[in-house]
Each structure stands twice: as C-alpha cells, then as structure tokens.
Symmetry: C2
Amino acid sequence: MKLEKITDQSRRRYEDACGTAHALEILGERWALLIMRELMLGPKRFGDLRASLPGLSANVLTQRLEGLEAYGVLKRRKLPPPASVQVYELTEWGLDAEGIIKTMGFWAARSPDHDPSLPLSPVSLMMSFRTMFDADKARGADLTLEFRLGDEVFTCVVRDGELTNGRGEAERPDAVITGTPEPIAGIVYGDVDPADMVAGGALKIEGDMDAVRRFAAFFELPEKASVS
Amino acid sequence: MKLEKITDQSRRRYEDACGTAHALEILGERWALLIMRELMLGPKRFGDLRASLPGLSANVLTQRLEGLEAYGVLKRRKLPPPASVQVYELTEWGLDAEGIIKTMGFWAARSPDHDPSLPLSPVSLMMSFRTMFDADKARGADLTLEFRLGDEVFTCVVRDGELTNGRGEAERPDAVITGTPEPIAGIVYGDVDPADMVAGGALKIEGDMDAVRRFAAFFELPEKASVS
DNA sequence: CGGCATCCGGGAAGATACTG
DNA sequence: CAGTATCTTCCCGGATGCCG
C-alpha cells in the first residue's frame, strides 16, 4: 500500500500577521540568511556558495536555494556563452535584506559570546566594513583600497564620508592588500599594525601602508553588552 | 554496553566570525525572535507568552527561555510580594534587538507572500506602529490614543514628528479604542474607516473619531516587491 | 565538476499528558 | 499557573550515487 506523504505546510508557519514572523518564515531557516549574505556582493555559483559556507551540505543548499527562489528572494540565471554556467543572484528585494544582515551583525557583535577569531569569508569581511563604518571618523578622507582574497577581488572607496565597496579591481588604489580575511580583520578591528601582519607573512601590502592604517581607523566594533 | 551520549555542541553553530552568523545562533532558532518581540514592551509571564504565541508549545518555550537567558538576552525576575510571580524581561542588550525586529518586519511586509489577514498580537500591533510610522506625515501633529486590547492597555503619543508608545493608560487621550488588534490594523493599514469598524461591532471608539483617522494616516505599508 | 536526487542517523520541534 | 516527561514527526547534516 502506498502511503500519501502529507506535508502539512502550515505546521512550519507561524500563523502570525506580524512582518517579523513572515520574515522568519522566509529566512529563518538554517543557513538561509548566510546564503543571502554570500550573494550580497554579486551572483555566485553553487560550488562557490558551498566553498564559502563550510558545514553547509549540498542537499540543504539545494533546499534553501529552492525555497528562497520560491519566495522571490533570489533567482537562478544562466550566464551567456561561452560561460554558460548557472549562477544564483538576489532579486532587488533580496538585496534590500542588506539592512537585516547589518542590523543583526551589529547587534550580535555586542554579544559576550561572540568569537571574532573564527574563520571569515571574504564577503563577510566586506559586509562587516559596511556595518562598522563610522562616517564621522572618515570625514574628509579620500582613499581607495583593493583587497585580493584568494581569487576574489574587492575594492573599497572612502570618499565624502561614505564607504563604497564591491567586487572588482580598483583603478588607482592607494594600497593593494593580498591575503586572507582574518588578518585584515585583525588590523581593522583588532588594532594590529599592518606592518606586523606583513612581517609575520600573513599579508602582502603593496602601496601606501599608511593608507591602510588610516582606513582601519574608520571602523570600530561596538562595545560589549553588559548582561550582568 | 553503555553508550556515551555525545552532545556535539558545535553541530548547531556556524563556525563563522561574522556577526550575522552569531546573531543567528542566538535568535535564529524557531520562535526565539518572536518571544523577544513579545517582551519588547515589558516583562511577561510564562503563560502570557504562551497565550500571545499560539502554536508555541510549553516545552519549546522553556528551551528558548533557557537559551536566551544563557546568552544574556533576557533574565527571569521575581516580582516583589504580594505579586511574587516570576516574569521574563529583556536585558538592555535584548531591548536593542528592536532594530532587528523592525528591519525584518519592514522588509517582509514587501513580500508577495505576506498575509496581513492572519491573527496579530497586541504587542505586534504596537511594534508595527513603530516600524511603519512616517515622520513626514506626522509633522506638526499632536495627539494621544489609548488602545485597550483584551486586558492589555497601550498608549500611543504622536508629537514633534515622533511616535512614542508603550504599556499603560493615557492621561488625556484624544480617543480610546477598545477591541482586538486585527480591525485596528484594518484601519491603519487597510484604509478602512474607523466608523465602519464601530458600526460592524468590531471596535469601540470613545472620544474623537477623527483623531483616529488622522492617526491612521501617519502609517503606510511599503509597496510590494516585484520579483518578476 | 555542478546540480540534485536518495537513504540514514541524530536531534530539534510539536502535541499531549502529567506534576507541584 | 508554571513548567516537566514522553512520544512522534520531521528537519538537518553526511554519504552516496546519478547524470549532464
């Protein structure tokens, strides 16, 4: 006898008109928001997503991509030949979730249990820059940095008290930093001098080392919450 | 042979230095953020939480409260005699998660799948006011409304282009609305005239009915996202 | 190799009943 | 009222394998 698989769709819902509840239905499942984070700076392929999210298994990634596509958060797109590969990219509305990621990241950075020594993906680093940038500290500054993290290249421009960053090479960077995200986070958030990182072999910096120091001074982690 | 129970704590973690990932570890579990939402306007008892979150079973609520307390998001407090009951209240840091709730709620209100006809808790309604309030539309206004929702009473004050709301009775309200959250949402977000709600018996309104109309005009839902 | 099925073990979520 | 105990269901995560 064949049993009908009864998937009670309503079981997993909250039955709550509150927008927050609906947001949790869309991106409250495990890994969902982190997948969106990885797509915030541009489309990625299935394998790239897996590589940047160790611990996420292929079948779960497939489920999440299906779910997020069904909700209209992302869509799959076939790149034109000769690439002809499939990539996943956020919709405009999906990109608007950047505020959620930044707000959550800023809030959780104050957690007593937050461990900044864990691995960090390149996109995470760029998103953390957007989150922790302090416009007041960058007043009057004008500098451009290029980050080469593995095979991903990003550019950060600070001008008019604003930070703009994204994928791609810089035109005339003040400095080019090559390495992994972790030591860069150490410079920006851990107040380590970039020269020490270079001396230790963790990073390579070409160009104006002092520009890197000034850049790092634009960012600050919020103070830890006292939860007594 | 006795098998050792290996509780791999790291299984549920993301092993990611990103603040967003840590936030998801704290409040990414099912119901966690909705429990915090219900505490945003003041402490509640165990039974009150259950009542305002139908579908959340007692054992899961117990687990969430333990987890959130361990993270320092909330703490349990014993009210002094003669009440002598235990309540759960957010810590200062837990209250700071209001931005997360509002950002998520605003974002998800644009979802094509959002169903505003579902039930709404009193606290949800108040939080939605904070989320959807449009300061430009309230310029120059000065009015006070009292909402009596079941046995919970809230006051909303609009003044100097700002909305302030919280628990408690108003001193000299322009109007007092008695009923359930859903018809009130219909007035504020669905452009239903309050007089119709009163005529239909869904609400009772004492005082200046036109003040309710002006109040409703301060709020607007964001337009739906086009996900093509 | 990218994308996606399928099977399985462990554990979280959910419903219900029970206790102080 | 405020939880605990127990049982079932189903999701998560790992492994394997299929197919283009």
